[in-house]
Symmetry: C2
Subunit: 202 residues, 2 copies
């Protein structure tokens, strides 16, 4: 796995395959393990450094706070775990996207990561908040490519506010996983996709 | 304020105005204060008892775990802070509902409560998980009264799966507040209401 987030909170750009990228990968992977086992409350630079085989001073230097560690680790996961589908049809693209996000959040360990993400995001660190917002803006905007492709194929008219349709599609998954604990099942996928599909002008 | 949740995890039914109800109110209010100040990680029966002026042994007896304390405190808040609207028109009912939930989650202190709620919900306590699920099923089901009333007025046809429409309406608020940190503004309210309204058969 290659560092792909493009968000380097300390301003150092990781080079694919370089030592810096290897350290980054080892650290962020260790952060995810720690968060899955102990949650955000238990996260520490020392434990992360020990698990990653990286000098804690290096961890502190590149990620000066726990919230930066958590946010970077989870951004990388979200980017890699939810690929953008290209099935040749809007409905199956929306279905694939919904299923990927559902699968990600159905895993209790991953869910802990997102709760850490949420806890980190409200700490008073403007850099972290802005990195988080920028990540999601970029991520949601990237997913709207499914509407662009469908419009290019003549399947639909290009919708206004396509990003809000992506939110409408995936928000109920997060709502159920993080709040109501209702099931993430194929009914939710089928009905959500049908509703969002019906919101797009033909 | 009267205990209204109907969920008494220890099986004791609070009597309005009785000592039991007063203890319950003092304790749950103290839990909310503690959660807002220190989050879930800092919640303790002793601190809650001290703040509420209640013997910690009583707090332990009625709420044997931190997660039960947190869940009961937040259920009570959610019930009281989001009244079910009855404006005489579906669109303005949906608007009022969306605005109440947005206002609740726009407050950073309340947001901490919901993060605690989320953290509590994944702990391995089946009673808590079930109380939480039951609360949300009941709460979402109660909100579908806005569709029933609109159908009774002849404004719309009664929709299938009205609970999922309520989820479609409010889930993006939780998604933004807990995950993406995008703004909870009037654009979100207006567009979300318009989309959900358009999903209801006329």
């Amino acid at each position: 796995m290659v560092a792909r987030t493009g968000i380097e909170l300390d301003g150092v750009q990781a080079r694919t395959g370089g030592r810096s990228a290897r350290v980054r990968e080892a650290v962020l992977s260790a952060v995810r393990q720690e968060l899955m086992e102990d949650g955000y409350a238990g996260l520490s630079h020392i434990a992360v450094g020990r698990r990653a085989g990286v000098d804690p001073a290096t961890v502190y230097r590149r990620w000066p706070s726990r919230s930066r560690l958590a946010v970077d680790a989870i951004i990388e996961l979200a980017e890699n775990a939810v690929p953008l589908p290209d099935t040749g049809q809007l409905e199956s693209d929306l279905m694939a996207l919904h299923k990927s996000v559902s699968a990600l959040l159905a895993d209790e360990r991953t869910l802990r990561l997102f709760q850490a993400f949420s806890a980190a995001s409200i700490e008073q660190d403007p850099d972290v908040s802005e990195a988080l917002r920028a990540f999601w803006r970029r991520r949601i905007s990237a997913a709207t490519v499914v509407f662009d492709r469908a419009a290019d194929r003549g399947e639909i008219e290009r919708p206004r506010r396509p990003g809000e349709l992506i939110e409408q599609l995936v928000a109920p998954i997060y709502f159920r996983a993080l709040v109501t604990r209702a099931p993430l099942d194929r009914h939710l996928t089928n009905h959500s996709v049908a509703r969002v599909r019906s919101l797009v002008p033909m």
